[in-house]
């Protein structure tokens, strides 16, 4: 029976476009984000003639990739993008690098001129595999229709296994039109790419031994825990609670550990909390799970957590000992590492120095008393922190499933600081690449995956304009995304750095000639709301949330507010700048620091 079926499948001949769609279906794809063009017309023709896969027409190819990222990050599935050759592919590049930096599984199908024209400077030809080689985890140019199906299957395997990432498949038009055989996903292992997911038992024992002896331990968890799936976050919670250790999350890791848990120290790094950064600085044993010692996290490397033994678990061996030399290296998937740690701790974890750890917590509580995220909302001018905090509190009251995306800048950091996440996959932000214009299309992708959920893009007035055309996509698909703009009429983070590092010379950072966002929403068939006074903020937020369709809420906030705490570039964790009026270390920025971004 199965043999007959197999022969039937093997004998199936289709055109290239049908092969691609069949492979996508077999990989469980339900949605593609794309934009048509000459080179991909055969694929669009095949899409037209089927109903299994839904196509979402974006307004710019960059947005297609960010939408696929939002879809992937909120579901744990692979996001799929379809763009045409030449400008279609080059427009997608920013999205691809964004997905590469944040380890998001995305498949990007790009059209290409027919094989016999490749290299001839044909119309809408670009060397897509050449351009995207450093922008992807891997890429393919399919020149033989016999390998088309297997290439698509392999691309999915590469995109989602190991450290996930974007994969480009470049599809010449003659391959899409030509006839060839279809083959199902192979059951055999990949010839060369077999990432290690199971941690080494000896390294787990070494880690537990160090942690058991720790007097001032800290757990520092990142996006790898999110990428590993919800089980990893559950196990992280279990491990942190059973060991009684403090836990901090990176920007990418927010939601991996519940923000409302008393053992959570908040986010760490450049705009992390006082307590998280000082705990990192003062710890004697650090357990890093699925984070990569990014420069936003470490600050000045030679002053980073100077007296600690460091344990680093990562699925990507190249992330280990890249920036920071560690004492115990564990290569493996975060969930498997955490499961192994939980099990080993049950067997060998007894005998912690509870007194020392209680003392460590007393020290941490002392740092917490600084209340580094405290702000004073006085008068009518809305503090941006207050706007985010109220948004968080009001959405919590509503008890609706809520997903947050952001653009990039001050508003992004305030969102990270003041919006709490208790579960993974609810927070989508451009961490590694820092791509302005990410949030709106990412929110689109999230809303497609979760039609009944509340999806909010916390934005700045400058970032939102970078992919504002996607308001059209929201309208077309009736996606009720809420765009919550903290409008301070500045590229706020640029302005902040100019204030702190460049003598308050605000070179080109003022948002001149802004559109009327209410009219702009109206033009895109959405609802527009403008709030200018603190006393109207709650009503504005409620009005936004109550509206069943897409909304732009333009919140006029204090123009010169800075985002604190801040570890200035080139400074160490214990040289944080706090908000004016708060006690703590204050560091000047050195010339060396000025060079850093």
């Amino acid at each position: 029976m199965s043999a007959t079926l197999k022969t039937e499948t093997e004998a199936r001949t289709m055109n290239g476009a049908e092969i691609v769609l069949q492979a996508l279906k077999d990989q469980g794809v339900e949605v593609i984000f794309g934009y048509p063009g000459g080179a991909v017309l055969p694929l669009y023709d095949a899409i037209f003639q089927q109903n299994a896969i839904r196509h979402i027409l974006v307004r710019h190819e960059q947005a297609a990739v960010h939408a696929a990222e939002g879809y992937a990050r909120s579901t744990g599935k692979v996001g799929v993008v379809l763009v045409t050759s030449g400008p279609g592919a080059t427009n997608a590049v920013t999205g691809l690098v964004d997905a590469l930096m944040d380890s998001i599984p995305v498949i990007c199908l790009t059209g290409q001129v027919p094989t016999h024209l490749i290299g001839n400077d044909a119309f809408q030809e670009a060397d897509t595999t050449g351009i995207t080689r450093p922008a992807t985890k891997h890429n393919y140019l399919v020149k033989d229709i016999g390998k088309l199906a297997s290439t698509v299957h392999e691309a999915f395997y590469v995109a989602k296994s190991g450290r996930p990432g974007p994969v480009v498949i470049d599809l010449p038009k003659d391959i899409l039109i030509g006839k060839g055989p279809y083959s199902e996903a192979p059951k055999t292992a990949h010839r060369s790419y077999r990432p290690m997911t199971e941690p080494d038992a000896g390294q787990i024992r070494a880690a537990v031994k160090l942690l058991k002896g720790a007097k001032r331990p800290v757990v520092y968890a990142g996006g790898g825990v999110i990428n590993s799936g919800p089980e990893a976050s559950r196990l992280l919670g279990e491990f942190v609670r059973m060991t009684g250790m403090p836990c901090t999350n990176t920007l990418m890791g927010l939601g991996a550990y519940p923000s409302t848990d008393p053992q959570f120290l908040g986010m760490l790094g450049m705009h992390g909390t006082f307590e998280a950064n000082l705990a990192m600085h003062g710890c004697d044993v650090m357990l890093n799970i699925g984070a990569r010692f990014d420069d936003r996290v470490t600050g000045r490397l030679n002053a980073f957590s100077p007296n600690s033994k460091k344990i680093h678990a990562d699925i990507d061996p190249s992330s280990i000992n890249k920036n920071v030399k560690v004492d115990v290296a564990i290569v493996g998937d975060a969930a498997r590492v955490l499961a192994a740690l939980v099990e080993a701790w049950r067997e060998e974890g007894a005998g912690q120095d509870r007194e020392a750890i209680a003392g460590w917590w007393r020290q941490i509580e002392g740092w917490r008393e600084t209340r580094c995220l405290q702000y004073r909302q006085e008068g009518s001018i809305i503090k941006p922190q207050h706007a985010v905090k109220r948004l968080y509190e009001i959405t919590r009251e509503m008890r609706q499933e809520t997903f947050i995306t952001t653009e990039v800048g001050q508003h992004q950091m305030w969102a990270a600081q003041y919006f709490g996440f208790d579960r993974p996959n609810r927070w989508m932000t451009s961490g590694g690449l820092g791509t302005m214009g990410y949030g709106l299309p990412a929110a689109m992708g999230v809303q497609i995956a979760h039609p009944d959920a509340l999806v909010i893009d916390i934005a700045g007035e400058a970032s939102i304009l970078m992919n504002i055309q996607e308001m059209g996509t929201l309208a077309q698909y009736r996606l009720p995304v809420k765009v919550f703009i903290l409008n301070n009429e500045y590229m706020g983070m640029v302005r902040q750095w100019q204030e702190l590092l460049h003598g308050s010379r605000y070179s080109e950072s003022y948002s001149e000639a802004l559109p009327d966002f209410v009219k702009l929403a109206d033009a895109f068939h959405a609802k527009g709301i403008r709030v200018t006074r603190a006393e109207d903020l709650d009503a504005g937020i409620r009005e936004m949330l109550a509206h069943p369709g897409p909304v732009i809420a333009d919140i006029a906030v204090a123009k010169d507010e800075n985002c604190f705490p801040m570890i200035p570039s080139g400074a160490a964790h214990n040289e944080m700048i706090l908000a004016p009026g708060q006690a703590g270390g204050v560091a000047g920025v050195t010339d060396e620091g000025k060079v850093l971004v």
Partner: protein, 174 residues
């Protein structure tokens, strides 16, 4: 200790077994240029046609941390099967081949021939006013021969770059 204190450079000869496919060399070279690693020599050729394998030999230098990073970065390229640090993993042989053209007449010509003999270079082309020598050996030996030829009519040099293999019975397998 932090990276900044690790400043001793070492050389490394790295053998990489890869899928013999379009773009693989660009991937490796792009990795080195994109991440700012040194390449002192890079050679590549198919070594197993049936299994579609090529072998790349890279000579590079850096701190231990950088060299470990280079190996990890190479190893995570999808078409890479194996990465081996020949310098670290035990004794190995490294050889380079060179074709070198020397033009001249009279005593210079005779001297070139005598030195070539001493260096075990082979004459692979000769005219009444020139020789092409073929020579294989360690890079320093080739360098020395080039320096000797310079004053007596060195015209052109073509070198392959280093190929290397570990001593002993073990082999680098996909």
């Amino acid at each position: 200790m932090p990276a900044s204190t690790d400043t001793t450079f070492r050389n490394a000869t790295i053998a990489v077994l890869v899928e013999n496919e379009a773009g693989i060399l660009a991937r490796v070279v792009g990795l080195f240029s994109g991440r700012g690693y040194n390449i002192e020599s890079l050679t590549v050729a198919p070594v197993d046609e049936a299994r579609r394998l090529s072998r790349i030999t890279i000579v590079t230098s850096g701190t231990d941390m950088v060299i470990e990073q280079i190996k990890a970065q190479l190893d995570r390229l999808v078409p890479v099967h194996k990465v081996s640090d020949l310098t670290l993993e035990g004794p190995h042989l490294a050889r380079e081949m060179m074709l070198i053209k020397v033009a001249g007449r009279g005593e210079h010509r005779m001297e070139a021939l005598r030195l070539a003999d001493a260096f075990r270079a082979r004459v692979v082309d000769a005219t009444t006013e020139s020789f092409v020598f073929e020579m294989t050996g360690a890079g320093e030996k080739l360098d020395a021969f080039i320096e000797l030829m310079r004053p007596i009519g060195l015209t052109e040099v073509s070198r392959t770059g280093v190929v290397a293999i570990a001593r002993g019975p073990g082999g680098l397998q996909a």
